[in-house]
């Protein structure tokens, strides 16, 4: 025993010695010396920008990219970024998601990138992505995506319950929220409750937020748009009538609906008719989760297949209301020592025709990236189909998607073309820095109301109090 303790101690001592050394060497790395490669530090919340960063390194072999990914769970990424920026220890480039991009655009932590605007004009970058990143006439970030919303449904289920899977006819059937609810009722009755219209009420909250008449905050006061009231009612109706699978977005039950592997607690199979997802929902969410999975059978070596391949059984339409959801902006942090390099990177990511094409067409395969940086692992790659922010690029490549994987997935529909029609009409004038905090505060009261645990008044009171708590400087009446 004693020997063991001393051995352990010795091992730890050695470890801490090494740790001491490595920390020191890491610190000296930051002070770039002339003979060392320049280091560009990038923070993001997914691996997408990492793909870009590797490609960027391929173009600039003399540069070393230090990439950090912090997940957005419960707003952790935002908190960490604020903390680092406040302490003056931020990276050179940060990626910002639509839900909180305004917050940072309205702060004084980002560099002015207005001098890159001519490039955006050449590429006919969608105006709304630029508006989103403009504050007091200064542009502080650029996006490589445009993210108009869409509505994806299962063709086989549409045939079964509506007698047709034709996108135009289905669009008529779910064309507004009233019709949408009616369709949900039809599906529930005809399937005896075994098929749900959507997997969770979280799926359509975005629709209502996108179609408000007023922003959340006017003159420092909280404004609750009538659309919020509508959202409450629809959510309650879906929950109480069993039109939704009670899954949570981004959790297992929600994904299980995509390959028909959803079972209720008793083991009965359940199906989900549709998902309300934007452009990126197709390549990133639906396609990767539409395949069946092999499972070992309990107590034997046999495997059984769970779920089925749903590729080719989907269709894409506009759905009940127009909306946009998500998008990633990149910005240079104020005071960075590598301003030129940071700008170079922003340019490459969002304003470089070649890169945007490569990005959209899926040039950045795992092999391609591994040639540049062998250490990236087997998962990092960018499949075709992401909808990019440059109208010029979109128009050039849209027809290339006629026979692409994404179109096969939709039984021959070229979703890229329909997105291209929707993108120029998006307006984001309503968005504000406080939206994220306010919309997150609404989540809990909305669920309480939908589940019948609170009256409308109680839920709204809860919501207002939560807003007041999150944003002390707001006037809430």
């Amino acid at each position: 025993m004693k020997k063991l303790i001393s051995l352990l101690m010795a091992a730890f001592m050695l470890m801490s010695l090494f740790a001491g050394c490595s920390n020191k060497s890491a610190e000296t790395n930051n002070n770039t010396q002339s003979n060392e490669p320049k280091v560009l530090r990038i923070w993001s919340f997914t691996d997408e920008v990492k793909t870009m960063a590797v490609a960027f390194q391929g173009k600039h072999p003399d540069i070393k990219v230090e990439y950090t990914m912090i997940p957005m769970t419960n707003g952790e990424y935002q908190t960490k970024i604020k903390s680092a920026l406040q302490a003056g220890e931020g990276p050179d480039v940060i990626a910002l998601e639509a839900s909180f991009v305004r917050e940072f655009i309205e702060s004084d932590y980002l560099e002015d990138l207005s001098d890159l605007l001519p490039l955006a004009q050449q590429l006919k970058t969608y105006q709304f992505t630029i508006d989103m990143a403009t504050h007091d006439g200064i542009v502080k970030a650029f996006s490589y995506q445009a993210t108009p919303g869409a509505y994806f449904y299962r063709r086989s289920l549409a045939k079964k319950y509506f007698g047709t899977d034709d996108p135009e006819k289905i669009q008529e059937i779910v064309g507004d929220m009233k019709k949408f609810e009616q369709a949900a009722k039809v599906i529930k009755e005809k399937s005896k409750g075994n098929t749900y219209m959507v997997a969770s009420i979280g799926d359509f909250t975005n629709l209502f937020f996108a179609n408000r008449q007023q922003p959340w905050v006017v003159d420092g006061k909280l404004v609750i748009d009538p659309k919020v009231d509508e959202l409450f009612e629809v959510a309650k109706s879906f929950r109480q009538n069993g039109y939704e699978a009670q899954a949570n977005q981004w959790q297992e039950g929600w994904f299980a609906g995509m390959n028909d592997s959803l079972v209720d607690a008793k083991g009965n199979p359940k199906q989900v008719f549709s998902y309300i997802l934007p452009t990126w929902g197709l390549p990133y969410v639906l396609m990767p989760n539409s395949a069946p999975k092999e499972v070992k059978v309990e107590g034997s070596d046999k495997t059984k297949t769970v779920g089925k391949n749903t590729a080719g059984d989907w269709a894409c339409i506009n759905g009940p209301m127009p909306y946009q959801w998500g998008g990633t902006w990149v910005a240079a942090v104020k005071g960075t020592k590598n301003l030129d390099l940071a700008k170079e990177f922003v340019k490459f990511v969002a304003l470089d025709e070649e890169n945007l094409k490569n990005w959209a067409l899926g040039t950045y395969t795992n092999e391609y990236l591994k040639k540049i940086d062998p250490t990236i692992g087997d998962k990092l790659s960018q499949g075709p189909g992401d909808f990019v922010s440059s109208q010029k690029v979109v128009e050039e490549i849209a027809s290339q998607f006629d026979n692409a994987e994404t179109s096969k997935f939709l039984a021959g529909q070229n979703s890229y073309k329909s997105f291209a029609e929707a993108a120029p009409n998006i307006s984001l004038k309503l968005l504000q820095g406080t939206d994220d905090a306010i919309q997150r505060a609404l989540n809990d009261p909305l669920n309480n109301y939908a589940a019948g645990k609170a009256t409308k008044e109680q839920a709204l009171k809860q919501f207002k109090e939560a807003v007041k708590n999150a944003l002390p400087e707001l006037i809430v009446e």
Binding site: G267, D444, E465, L471
Partner: protein, 316 residues
């Protein structure tokens, strides 16, 4: 000889200096600074800030959040502490009983203490997965016919509070058991023997001997558990959305503090005011418990024990 001794005593200051310096720098100063910050409107999004008096505290009591978080924290703590002390006491009595002669006591204790050494982060993620709507608890309960339909545990305040209290209980009952047993084994058997002669039954012995003599240990358990419980953060934070949902039911005071800290602007001043309130509430509760439960002379157990014994003998 005596001279050398006196000469060496200044070493007491030298040997305690590291602690004192460390304490002043890393505990006291941050605490004082937190008090100071609670009177400012400092945020993370801008460099300028000013003193605003009691504004932060006024806001705290304007909405129901702080009071709710205070009540939540107490509720969760009591819900786990009462069963914790109950079961630990029961097991400790059984394990130390000379009549029952329970076997493998060491093994049981080791197993019951096991949950306490696991990472709270791991436990939170684990139970989050166990109790998810499509998770194993629902599967098992429905298939065994315990419940008809799957339950959304994390959308029911009652369930969520119960799960948090259960996890806390699960993590701590083994630790409490070990402490209580140590207290019981240090009670001299002669007390029990003389009580047996007097014909006392086991319940009377427990009431009249074990409980009074355990008092200092109970105070220790109670106070340490309370101080920990008032600062509960890890489990409730990671179990739901980090804001204490559903319905704010598991929003503890520390979660509220972190919510202010990580809000859109990063309200450092407001967060500090919550910290100050937690400090005041916890210290008052702890002092109250110590005042109520311990004798004036609890510094010296031996004396206390003697006093108890005298009292016991007088009663009979």
């Amino acid at each position: 000889m005596a001279n050398t001794k006196i000469n060496k005593n200044y070493y007491g200051y030298i040997f305690t200096a590291p602690f004192i310096i460390g304490f002043l720098l890393f505990s006291l100063y941050p605490l004082v600074y937190t008090f100071y910050l609670s009177f400012t409107n400092m945020t993370m999004m801008s460099k300028a800030y000013k003193l605003i008096g009691f504004e932060n505290f006024k806001k705290l009591f304007d909405d129901r959040f702080f009071i709710q978080s205070l009540l939540n924290t107490w509720k969760i703590w009591l819900l786990n502490f009462i069963p914790q002390i109950g079961i630990a006491m029961l097991l400790a009595v059984w394990f130390t009983s000379t009549r029952l002669k329970i076997k493998f006591v060491g093994f049981w204790r080791t197993i019951f203490y096991l949950p306490n050494i696991l990472m709270p982060a791991t436990i939170a993620v684990l139970f989050f997965n166990f109790f998810s709507f499509y998770g194993p608890v629902n599967q098992a309960a429905v298939r065994l016919g315990i419940i008809n339909d799957a339950i959304e545990y994390f959308r029911h305040s009652g369930w969520t509070v119960s799960i948090v209290a259960f996890i806390q209980w699960w993590m701590w009952f083994g630790s409490t058991l070990i402490i209580l047993m140590a207290g019981m084994t240090s009670i001299s058997p002669s007390f029990y023997e003389s009580a047996m002669v007097d014909g006392a039954n086991s319940w009377q012995m427990f009431r009249k001997i074990t409980l009074p003599l355990l008092r200092p240990v109970l105070v220790y358990v109670l106070v340490t558990s309370l101080v920990g419980g008032m600062q509960m953060f890890d489990i409730p934070y990671m179990l739901t959305d980090g804001r204490g949902s559903p319905n704010g039911s598991i929003m503890t005071m520390n979660i509220l503090m972190y919510m202010k800290f990580s809000s859109s602007k990063g309200h450092i001043g407001a967060a500090a005011s919550v910290g100050v309130m937690i400090f005041i509430v916890t210290c008052l509760s702890a002092l109250l418990i110590v005042k109520l439960l311990s004798e004036k002379d609890s510094k010296n157990n031996a004396k206390a024990v003697k006093g108890e014994v005298k009292g016991y003998e007088l009663h009979n």
